[in-house]
């Protein structure tokens, strides 16, 4: 908004003043929103980091055991053992609102509730390492869902924070200063007009007095 293009009228001045007031209020609100989002975000990030380390470790353990198992058993046997899973997972998703950001909340149900009973194969023909692998993986199973939820929440919040920050900055450093300069420009122009009108009137008065009364001040 270049200050040269605005018309210095009283109407424009009133309009700008209301806009400035709105902008300032919006700026304050957005700033509050950003601060709160940031607080929640940092909390979630910390939580996310812990979960991530936990899940990575658990899965690494599972993978290691699985590698050993696949070395001991033939790959056909291994595949056969895992072919028909005992466990089934049903996932339900609702949304939670964090500062007007909709984040998913997962709720999952497993068909086999007993965690000791998840092995989909008989123990006779499989190696013990396979049991270890499945156990390690099912150990971090729940954490994996939480990780998914937390990580998605984090991404969505990061996006929202970025947007809000841009808006706050645009208002703070562009919109509001621009409007303030314009308001100043208009009010100065109006005052200037006032003064010139006054001077013109005084001059006219002098001329009129001189014409009618030959009066010279």
């Amino acid at each position: 908004m270049a200050s040269k293009t605005i018309s210095p009228t009283r109407m424009e001045l009133t309009r700008l003043k209301t806009r400035l007031k709105t902008a300032k209020r919006g700026h304050k609100l957005l700033k509050d929103k950003r601060d709160e989002l940031m607080r929640q975000f940092l909390e979630i990030v910390r939580h996310n980091r812990d979960l991530r380390t936990k899940v990575d470790e658990g899965l690494a353990r599972g993978n290691r055991a699985l590698s050993v198992a696949s070395a001991i058993m033939s790959s056909d046997m291994l595949e056969q053992a895992l072919l028909y899973p005992r466990q089934r997972v049903e996932l339900d998703m609702t949304f939670r609102n964090i500062m007007s950001v909709n984040v998913p909340v997962y709720e999952f149900k497993t068909e086999v509730s007993d965690t000791a009973d998840i092995y989909p194969y008989g123990f006779a023909q499989t190696s013990g390492e396979l049991d270890d692998a499945i156990e390690a993986m099912s150990g971090v199973f729940e954490d994996m869902f939480e990780l998914a939820q937390v990580e998605k929440t984090m991404q969505l919040l990061a996006d929202e924070i970025e947007k809000t920050r841009r808006r706050v900055n645009a208002l703070e450093y562009i919109m509001i200063p621009d409007m303030e300069t314009n308001i100043k420009y208009i009010s100065m122009k109006l005052e200037e007009n006032d003064r010139s009108t006054k001077v013109r009137l005084m001059k006219v008065k002098d001329m009129v007095l001189e014409q009618t009364h030959k009066y010279n001040s």
Partner: protein
């Protein structure tokens, strides 16, 4: 009802099958791209896609498209040959994006 998918190398996804997740073994980049595209279709109703870290490099563009959408969540998991730490990198990226500096 939503579903959960695991995609990655054949030996990585094997273990997850026993846990009752839908597994999608992929062996090539092209296949990974095709599978990911299919999984992200709204009709498929996959809410969470666990993806082996290795794949995330070839699919980086496709994944970032879903970063700011509520569904699906694409979560990186370590593959058979150990963690590459990409999951943590994603975390740091998000922090960078939000805060403007890596404060962790």
């Amino acid at each position: 009802m939503y579903k959960i998918a695991v995609m990655g190398g054949a030996d990585t996804v094997l273990g997850f099958k026993a846990l009752g997740l839908d597994t999608y073994p992929v062996s090539s980049d092209d296949e990974a791209r095709r599978v990911f595209k299919r999984l992200t279709e709204p009709d498929e109703k996959y809410a969470i896609i666990y993806m082996e870290e290795r794949l995330s490099q070839t699919l980086a563009e496709e994944i970032s498209e879903y970063n700011d959408k509520p569904v699906p969540a694409v979560i990186l998991i370590p593959g058979r040959d150990g963690s590459m730490g990409l999951g943590l990198t994603a975390l740091h990226n998000a922090v960078m994006r939000a805060v403007g500096a890596d404060i962790l």
